[in-house]
Symmetry: none
DNA sequence: CATGAATGAGAATTCATTCAT
DNA sequence: AATGAATGAATTCTCATTCAT
């Protein structure tokens, strides 16, 4: 079934990209790691970029789903913390994918820039919405611009989580979450 | 003189990388932009990777120098803000360089991982030192661990600055600095 | 079919090497002569060295096949002469190949030393076996050690044949064969 | 003094060529191994080929001197054996140089073919002269052509000696000499 | 006499893509 | 739906040679 082939290609690409970055991957490697012939990549995705593009959409889709599920009708600030926690959990559990995001997200004309802009927007809109609730509850200082704060929060979350994994793996997730919360609480007072 | 050749190559590479990203550059282009023959790159750096490696050290050296110069005997929190501002200025002025930093810094084994670990440490030690002063002045909450905060601050700065350049170029630098300061002020209360 | 591509590359390489030597060939030339794209060489052999390595095995295989075919149930000394004649014929017909054999065979660590040691052994075992028959027929002096004689005979054959081709091309093959036979007859008395 | 520089370059080249062959050497390596700057090679020899050329002449000159010294007014066949023994001794003592000779001597258009033809002739004339004496003493069969035999003897000597060094280093020089003598005695009866 | 930084033509190698099966 | 041999443009890298000091 085609779905399993695509899935296998996604997983192999993720696995390889974790250590070598997206740009450094060859279609040969990906196909070999997925246990399919090279032509199969082209049959299923049309091109290398097509595969990467699909992979990015797939991964971000998963992240967005989780984030959306994490929001609830609780108190706004708690909801924000829940968002952060969910984000941290996802990143820790999908390190390879997250590394790809940081690696490619801010690369200027980067090959996947268009897709990434779209995906970034999808995530940010979720964060912005939650920040908006916090603001509506009067818990955000007036001089904080929501879209800026959302972008900053997303980037910080990504980077802090990866730094944790790469350079301070002995820290617990709760510990890392708390570091970010300290910042957020400062912000939301 | 060899130093000037290396210097010219660094500058040409940085220049090109700012608009096109480091990964996509060819040695031909770099040499042409620097006004030297292609062989000269290999004579001086051994390989394309050798050039990038040297460039990373050079760039981080520059950043560290600026950061060190930004610290002064003023009030600790102001000193911290000065550090942030200097960092922002540097990143905005060396976009290509900063992009490679984010792209490679958190890649697991990564080609330049060894170099980057060293360089990360060089920057972090400066940030840590300043945070220490802030703490000594009693301006940091007790539950904030300095080395964690330093790593988070560095990553956040990098990412927020790049996000600004890539997705919100119309914002002013002062504006962006203020976004980060809001966070810091929350932290340092 | 892949076999025919490899075959074509072997033949083209051998052809070119006969007039220009193996070391001086470029992959471009070889591919052009074989009527395939340059990438095909890399697809099939991985590298220029890989091609040469495979070619050595292929060539020695051919030589060994011919030598084995040349042995028959005739009188032992005649069989030995037949071996020599076959060897001469092969070398004369594959000059480029033989040159690389002499060039590389006795080079201390040499790029293809491992391959060549194996190949040398394959040829020598055939020669040894024939010398053994001569000895069993009581036609070899007692003080001649077979493995030493085999190695000497192989080397001599190679060198004499190449010397003929390079410096005395006007001599006939029969003439050259006779020169070696004179030595062998002295030996087998 | 220039002589010592040339000498150092000869020795370094010989040393390197022993394991890697002449063609694979770079001027950089040679200069580094000799402890001089690259320009010095060009100052002294004009080109890489000039260095190799001079080296070949130098080495063969040494060999020719020894061979000439080995001939004496003794009985012709003994003189021939003395020639062989001296040749063996030289080769064993100058393995690197000898490997170069075998590697390059029969390479068809080889870059140093002209020089090598001359040098080959220098050695062969010595061998031919001695064989002539043997013939004059009535110790050579009528069907042996002297110049052919000389070429064969030279090649065989070279190859057998190298085979000894590379593949059967445990044998004594006397042992190896005896192997060749067996052939020669058969020839000279 | 000697140096070594710089050169650039030439060679090896990579890799996304195509296409006949 | 999948394959994998073949391609060739693009790139990296090599190295003999030059030349100003």
């Amino acid at each position: 079934m085609s779905e399993s082939t695509k899935q296998r290609l996604f997983e192999a690409t993720l696995e390889l990209a974790t250590s070598r970055g997206l740009a450094g991957l060859t279609v040969d490697e990906i196909a070999a790691a997925a246990g399919v012939a090279k032509g199969t990549v082209y049959y299923n995705f049309g091109s290398k970029d097509g595969l990467i593009d699909a992979l990015l959409r797939y991964g971000v889709g998963q992240l967005a789903d989780r984030l959306r599920a994490a929001r609830d009708d609780r108190e706004p600030v708690e909801g924000l913390e829940s968002l952060v926690d969910t984000g941290l959990e996802f990143i820790a559990g999908h390190r390879g994918f997250s590394q790809i995001l940081v690696s490619e997200m801010w690369r200027t004309p980067g090959q996947w820039q268009d897709t990434l802009s779209l995906l970034r927007e999808e995530i940010l809109s979720i964060v912005r919405e939650q920040l908006r609730r916090v603001a509506d509850a009067g818990r955000l200082p007036d001089d904080v611009e929501i879209s800026t704060a959302a972008a900053g929060l997303f980037g910080t979350l990504l980077v802090v989580a990866l730094d944790w994994q790469a350079f301070q793996p002995q820290r617990s997730r709760a510990d890392v979450r708390e570091s970010i919360m300290v910042l957020l609480r400062g912000l939301t007072r």
